[in-house]
Amino acid sequence: MEDIDAIAALQDPVRRRLYEYVAGQGREVGRNEAAEATGVARTLAAHHLDKLAAAGLLESGSRRLTGRSGPGAGRPAKVYTRSRAERSVSLPARDYRTAAELLAEAAEEAGLDDGLCAAARRRGEALRGSAEPCDDLDAARELLAARGYEPHIEDAEDAEARVLRMRNCPFHAVAERFPPLVCGMNLALLEGLIGADGAVRARMDARPGECCVIIEPSKNNID
């Protein structure tokens, strides 16, 4: 399916709500849960979820939601997660990804990490403009959501230990090919955006399947 057709599948408002709900969970979601969360009937939700899977926007699998296995555990239920595949449309056709990869390759070969990070930090600061540095995790979440990072606050038993993690890396394709260079650039960009002397700070804490950076209260490290 062409990217433009896949994106067109999101035009239906019910389908869009279902997609956004599943994408926002960062885990497998069953039909009942998706239907309840978006307030539509289960059969309608199932229909639209399967359309989204057919369009390649969601991936589907089956799992026993009871957590039991073996005979008597019940029939596996169909579950959905957001597809890792990337969709984009530019009209007229432009190919910024190839440009980004070539620039990253040249920067990597020449060892230009410092210059790239300095430029990224300046860009982050420019994006923040005259706004004060973020003063808490909620403010940072709002800022990062607007930039497509899909942030979520990870609760800890100790409220002071709460951190902000991000499900999406806006630079995913290039970051996978040149991780230290591009992840370093991303960290510098976020440092500039969040602000260096505020109540929260960005730090690298890479994990599988997430953005490599977290945002945490600055005092975590001053103690």
Binding site: G111, D113, D114, R177, P179, P180, C183, G184, L187, M204, D205, A206, R207, P208, G209, C212
Partner: protein, 163 residues
């Protein structure tokens, strides 16, 4: 041989040329990261083995590739497992700061190759694979993350020694 396709593991050798001696204060932040990062490797999914010097927690004192060149060598169940550890764990922070501590490489410094499961590669074997990569470019015998080959590719070209 009872199995048509013996299980294969992925071996890795990495060279890093120190900008200053390991006991120099400028290298201290790197030295502080060694133990936690090695512990993370040991506990990472798909980790099989890593090179350590006898009686030491790591291989930083072994200098088979030059006086100021430290080596890491390890074996993993899959390329994905090695990739996830290298770039999606605390190890990424070491990579991000690599220019502070290590000289930029002109030649290839990382080589990957397939070994039969259970085979522990020797340092000489690893250096041969790196020499192969440097001389011939990526092939099923010696490759990189940017140009990976499957264990089946390696078997077809007889690149995997029998254990």
């Amino acid at each position: 041989m009872t199995s048509a396709a013996p299980a294969a593991h992925l071996a890795e050798l990495n060279l890093a040329k120190l900008r200053h001696p390991l006991d120099d204060p400028r290298i201290e932040p790197f030295v502080e990261l060694l133990n936690p990062v090695n512990a993370a490797a040991d506990g990472a999914p798909g980790f099989v083995w890593r090179l350590v010097e006898e009686g030491a927690p790591d291989a930083t004192a072994m200098r088979p590739a030059g006086e100021n060149v430290i080596v890491t060598m390890s074996v993993w169940e899959t390329p994905e497992a090695l990739w996830e550890f290298t770039y999606r764990s605390g190890h990424l922070e070491v990579m991000r700061r690599r220019r502070e501590w290590f000289d930029r490489h002109v030649e290839a410094y990382l080589v990957l190759w397939w070994v039969p499961a259970g085979h522990i590669p020797t340092v000489d074997e690893a250096l041969e694979r790196l020499a192969d990569l440097r001389a011939n470019g990526p092939s099923p015998r010696a490759f990189t993350f940017a140009s990976t080959y499957t264990a089946a590719d390696s078997l077809r070209t007889d690149a995997v020694p029998t254990a």
